[in-house]
């Protein structure tokens, strides 16, 4: 048999390669990529190899006491003397901050991604549906998004979490519930701009059904702004996550490894000048959000050819 050249140059990969090159060329978005990759690597390591810290760290920061009983000693400052385990100091009950922070990424990052992806999928579908069908469907769906967008995000998230039951998983559901309308708005706007393009009409005349049109021809072409919104959304959701936990409306395990809860633990020591239990996790959180926002800004510049400059 004669050798047939294998086509491995799918346009998607070609385009991705091109966009990555553009992204990496910009120093700010390169920094964003590095920060994001490092944080997600830690979070994924936690999932696939939960013993990487040497102890089980599934549900509670108390595991990081490594068998020591809970003490009422005040937090100890960052020091290299006691080894890397304690090099960022300890918080309440001498829980070491460093492994708690790393373990917190598992909840903060993975659930934030889950929330944003779920919100983006639901929102994009309804947005595209709304704009493509038009008429009464559009009017109804957009009035519904109006209602969601007319309540400030944090009070709405508090209310929904409260009525779902105030546990961690309720917070996740609540944030999915409040995050899809923004995506729906965006997808609707984009769909309206491509709805009457020739290729959509061509697909229709070739016998493509309306739903097939939406899934195969509309949604793939409205995704660029959704990617940008999603990457910025992850930063926002991580912040809201920490905020809701900080406000104390989430019940259940007070030692769940989560950055907001970690900061709550140390908050009562702040007036005594014990700064590290709050400052260090906060800086850790801010660095991640800065990173993912830089990545989002970079993505926006790259995906919109008008901004490439």
């Amino acid at each position: 048999m004669s050798s047939v050249p294998i086509h491995n140059k799918h346009p998607f990969f070609e385009q991705s390669k091109f966009l990555t090159k553009l992204l990496v060329r910009n120093r700010a978005s390169l920094a964003g990529i590095v920060i994001t990759v490092v944080y997600f690597a830690i979070a994924l390591l936690d999932i696939f190899y939960p013993h990487y810290l040497g102890v089980e760290n599934d549900t509670s920061m108390l595991f990081f006491l490594r068998g020591h009983s809970i003490s009422s000693l005040p937090p100890t400052p960052p020091t290299m003397r006691d080894g890397w385990w304690y090099f960022l100091g300890t918080t309440v009950s001498t829980i070491p901050i460093f492994p708690s922070m790393l373990a917190a990424l598992r909840y903060d990052l993975i659930y934030s991604v889950l929330i944003v992806v779920a919100g983006a999928v639901i929102g994009t579908f309804f947005g595209a549906l709304s704009a493509y069908f038009g008429g009464a469907t559009d009017e109804t769906l957009m009035r519904i998004t109006d209602i969601f967008l007319s309540i400030p995000l944090i009070p709405l998230a508090i209310a929904v979490t409260f009525f779902l039951g105030s546990y961690f998983i309720d917070e996740v559901y609540a944030l999915i519930f409040v995050s899809w309308p923004a995506f729906a708005r965006l997808a609707r706007g984009e769909t309206l701009s491509i709805r009457n393009q020739a290729y959509i009409h061509a697909a229709t005349s070739a016998g493509s059904s309306r739903l097939r049109n939406i899934f195969v021809h509309v949604i793939p072409n409205v995704l660029s702004p959704i990617y940008v919104q999603a990457s910025l959304g992850i930063g926002r959701v991580v912040l809201i996550f920490a905020t809701l936990d900080f406000l104390g409306i989430i019940r259940g395990n007070p030692y769940m490894p989560e950055l907001g809860k970690l900061m709550v633990l140390g908050e009562s020591y702040l007036p005594e000048g014990i700064w590290w239990p709050v400052v260090i996790p906060g800086v850790f959180l801010v660095i991640f959000v800065v990173g993912i926002n830089l990545l989002g800004d970079g993505l926006r510049d790259v995906l919109d050819p008008r901004l490439r400059g």
Binding site: R143, I144, D146, I147, F148, L149, S150, I151, P152, L153, I154, P155, L156, I158, A159, V160, T161, F162, F163, L164, S166, G235, L239, A242, T243, F246, L247, G248, I249, M263, E267, L270, P271, E272, G273, I274, W275, V278, V279, G282, L285, V286, V289, V290, N293, L294
Partner: protein, 362 residues
Amino acid sequence: MQLGFYVLRRIIAMIPTLFGLTLLMFLLERTIPPSILASQYVNPDSTVPIQQQLHNAYIELGLNRPAPVQFFYYLINLLHGNLGYMNSSYYSGSVLGAIETYFPNTAQLVIFSMALTLLISFPLGTYIGARPGSISDHASRIFAITGYAIPTFWLGLMLQLLFGRGVMNLPVSVFPLDGIVSSSALPNPLPSWLINPVTGALYSSPTHMILFDALLHGDFSLAFNAFMHLVLPVITLTYALLAGLLRFIRSGMVDTSRKEFVRTARAKGVPERLVVTRHIRRNALIPAVTVVGLLLADLLGGVVVTETVFEYPGMGLLSVNAAISDEIYGVVGTTLVFGLIMVIVNLIVDVVYAYLDPRIRY
């Protein structure tokens, strides 16, 4: 089209949103079993026996009726200002009373934050927007990036840490860290304008905002004290707001300066200062009005967090405390008020926008 007609149409368009808002809150509220809904609908101040009140709750809320009828009862109760009751350590009494007590404090906070944001962002945004690529532009970019990334509660805590006693080892903190006014600053005995005639609690009149009331009654030391209590919460709220608005005004200025009428103005020989103030700024600031409305949503979300951090007795602290102490009607009431504020602000923003830019009124 006339502006008045546009306003009327906008007000009518508000009705479905308000209806949906109440429907959403109704549906959320009815995820709670009716017996619990009734048991929380008990006025702690009333002399009516509990059994009788529980019975009345079923009738007033229509709990033994079908859901659509319940919603009708719900709307009627809302229109009568009957938002239910709270009975927690933070506030006990009717939810409407709680909102009346705490709303002015939040309004005071929001007024100062908004005023500070606008006062800084418009001149500074114009200045930066006229100089893209300069050092001030890069500084504003860094400011914007951190403004989006720093969680409000953490910023508040950091300010408390910086200006509290801890780090600098001061005898007293530079700014008061919590509350709305120090109890030591209040005149003793309390004058009548500081007391709520019904409950006897601290509640200033006539504006109910203690800073303005103190100024009106000439008590400048109390006003100063109230002002000092506002400094840190206002800085906390302004930071994130400013970051967004500054960046938006800047990019608006840059976009407008590329327009052809600007080139024409320069070609005519209009001095650069006048090009910026008359031609670029006027057109660039119109879209900023819309963004101010959108930012208010962030501001109200930030209020919830800031008030909790600074223990500032306002709507946000009320809603968080209601959620923590399982006060169903407190949570619903505060969320509805936040939604109502947003709807009204969006209306005002749209009207101002239509007034500034007649092309909008299509």
